[in-house]
């Protein structure tokens, strides 16, 4: 790069200045005027996602209608060194879709076809704008199941699920998104289109680029087609609820279940605050006096799922559960799971700002982690509700904050840093399933170390030499 060109770059962002009118006109030549949004009011929703406190305006929003558009947009962005931020439905919880350096935001919602569901091979091909629930319904229509089920599955898109390696409530038994991705069609930031992975059972002709792109948060390539593995739909699902006087007892039950080698399909917990807000929204008759709720259950054959569920009930009793009940029907089981998925947004009923964290620890340290989170929050006088995928060791401590309170911001920062330290000290992670985005980037080093961070940057550079794709996030 010539020195003069280097000199015109913004010292903060590292990008050359952008003329929004030229940008919009050039992109309109690729996708047509009607697929461009360039006025402030129509770009506002794309300045943020589901993460509180982070927002930045793009210079233009473009809706590609096919992969030729995507390729041309990427090549254009690389040539002109303009940030390009792919976007699904904007339910991200780490500000990974916020265009921190402006540039182009590219929602992939026009890609909503499911070209094939092959029941014999148990494989489906989907476009990135298809929602998780739509893929689930298409699989179910032929007696199959797509297991990953993030909380926002009605809204979030498969492209976003791949980009974040989304988890969900079935993680313990079925794993996460990456466990179901067989192959991808990817547009590289430089415009070339590649296909990764293989439908073959054995194929080692490449690095495993599929799994490298899974969870890369839209920083390495833009996914335009996804080949997923499906599994037979279980014939039966049993769901139960146990109430405890405190979250530690629920966590101890979870550790016992895991230690006994039991692998249920559902093992989720909510603390008292979460139970109350969920009940307020869903009206399911939950015990709002309990200190914690454990939602558990299994799927499979009737014999297998019932026997697993009965074993967990027994362990709940040994850990002094106040009461244990069963969902009587499929509908009531669905209601309970749906209510659990609403825990985060429902918590917003309690405070002006809810800051959600996503730490993970080995399950043997679950009780210890719950204990430490409560200590940390109370020592900084921040109210903290806890829920999470207990069976995965994945906890969502959620800080309930009134930002107008003096010193709130500093105390929140301290709580988050202390919770991360505790997780790392216990052999865990600062993020189980939400990702790094902007929100956790400054905390990433302490988990990964310098050598690994440097490697991430080299990997990013190999894919994206101009550094245009979702800059300021993973690998930047």
């Amino acid at each position: 790069m010539a020195d003069s060109e280097e000199a015109t770059r913004d010292p903060d962002t590292g990008f050359p200045p952008i003329d929004p009118n030229t940008l919009a006109q050039d992109l309109a030549r690729i996708v047509g005027e009607r697929n461009i949004r360039s006025r402030t009011a129509e770009m506002l929703p794309f300045s943020r996602d589901a993460t509180p406190l982070y927002s930045a305006m793009p210079h233009v929003v473009v809706f590609p209608q096919n992969k030729v558009h995507v390729s041309a947009i990427a090549a254009y962005a690389t040539t002109h060194v303009i940030p390009l931020v792919p976007r699904g439905a904007g339910t991200n919880l780490a500000a990974a879709t916020v265009p921190i350096h402006g540039g182009i935001v590219m929602p992939m919602t026009a890609f909503r076809q499911i070209p094939s569901v092959d029941s014999a091979e148990q494989i489906a091909v989907v476009e990135p704008g298809v929602t998780t629930i739509e893929l689930g319904a298409a699989a179910e229509a032929v007696g199959l199941m797509y297991p990953p089920d993030p909380g926002s599955r009605h809204t979030c898109t498969m492209g976003g699920n791949v980009a974040t390696n989304a988890g969900g409530l079935r993680g313990l038994k079925y794993g996460v998104t990456g466990d179901y991705i067989l192959g991808l069609e990817v547009v590289l930031p430089t415009g070339e289109v590649i296909r990764t992975g293989s439908p073959l059972k054995k194929d080692v002709a490449s690095y495993d680029l599929t799994q490298l792109i899974v969870g890369s948060e839209g920083t390495l390539g833009i996914v335009t087609e996804i080949t997923v593995r499906l599994v037979p739909k279980p014939e039966h699902e049993a769901i139960g609820i146990a109430y405890f006087s405190d979250l530690e007892s629920a966590a101890a039950t979870v550790s016992d279940v895991i230690a006994a080698g039991v692998v249920p399909s559902t093992l989720e917990f909510l603390d008292r605050t979460c139970i109350r807000v969920v009940e307020e929204y869903a009206h399911l008759g939950l015990d709002t006096d309990a200190g914690a709720l454990l939602l558990f259950g299994d799927d499979g054959t009737i014999d297998m799922s019932e026997s697993t569920t009965r074993r967990i009930e027994e362990m709940c009793r040994l850990n002094h559960a106040r009461s244990i009940t069963r969902a009587e029907s499929v509908a009531s089981a669905d209601d309970l799971l749906a209510a659990r998925r609403c825990a985060l947004p429902a918590l917003s009923r309690r405070a002006p700002v809810t800051i959600l964290e996503d730490v993970g620890v080995p399950r043997s340290h679950l009780v210890e982690m719950v204990h430490r989170i409560n200590d940390i929050a109370s020592s900084h006088q921040i109210e903290c509700a806890v829920f999470g995928h207990a069976g995965d060791g994945n906890l969502h401590p959620t800080l309930l904050v009134d930002p107008t309170e003096p010193g709130a911001e500093t105390r929140v920062e301290s709580v988050i840093a202390d919770i991360f330290d505790a997780a790392i000290e216990l052999g865990g992670t600062i993020t189980g399933e939400h990702g790094i985005g902007i929100a956790k980037r400054r905390h990433q080093d302490r988990q990964l170390g310098d050598a690994q961070i440097a490697l991430l940057r080299r990997v990013k550079h190999a894919f994206d030499p101009s550094g245009i794709l979702n800059p300021g996030k993973l690998g930047s």
């Binding site: 509180p52 917003s348 809810t354």
Partner: protein, 354 residues
Amino acid sequence: MNSKIGVFNPDELGACISCGYCLPACPTYRISGDESSSPRGRIALMRAIDSGVVGIDDPVAMEQSELCLGCRACEPVCPAGVKYGNLIEQWRDAAWKRKPVILTGLMLAVRRAWQIRLGAALSNHAHRSSGEGQDFLMLGCFERIIFPGVSRAAKATHPNLTVDPDQGCCGALHAHNGALATGEAMARQLGRNLPGTIVTTAGGCAAHLASVIGRERVVEYSEYAELNPPPMPLNPIERRGRIARIAIQDSCHLRNGLGVAQGIRPLIRQVGTLVDLETAHECCGAAGSYALLRPSDARLVLDPKLVEIAHRDLDILVVVNPGCHRHLAQQLKQELPNVEVMHLAEVIAEASDA
């Protein structure tokens, strides 16, 4: 949140946490895939208007305030409890200063009770009559003119209802279209004119009226029929030599605003074969005056429902709101003439031979 221009209730505007759970429930987002046309996107716009970043008369903002159906399908799916229906009314109240002529005309035509009586002079709606007790039948402003058979049917199935044609209009039309204060004043006046329990055959009116004079005084017809089964026996309705296959189109405001939907289904099971439409809970595109003002958008919203109806071998589509009644009757007459559109009261009246 500091409201700079005082258009929005700050607590209601502050309640949204942008989780995006509302997106798939929104008909205009489903069609466009553009977050600007979603409840979360519109709330982002309202906030920008509130903080002065975007002008209240900004053309993009204005278009979004009009493209929204106001169906409130986003409310039941919102775990944070955002009152979107209130917010869109507040927005329109401040932004819609110059309304389309057709809308102004409609709103003026029903402003006074005597105007409605004049308009309905030739209409054969339920006549003035005193019933037993304190339950009054609401005739509706346009419903009594366009669908006079609905109030006749309601009176036939429930002869105890008192009918007073001088009742006026509840003002839902006004409240939904940027005249909030007028809409509320009209609801209060109707509440004074009918000093007891008000039984309405219009889902949209029920929700508006309940929000102003109190839920306890307003009973929608299906609720009323559930609580007070018609005195005469119900016989199955026949069409085309079989027991009629009947589906329901929910009223958005009745379902999303008042949470009334499930009670209608057992009533239909008593009089025919209930066909559960997957799209029953989704807006039909009528949305009050929307289908009149934006016919092509209304049609885009209706299309998936038409496709489903075409595949379900229906005889009757039951409605519980005059806006849906008009829009669906008109569209089905063109596209699927074998399907009759009937109000629930008319169906019950036919089944009871009342």
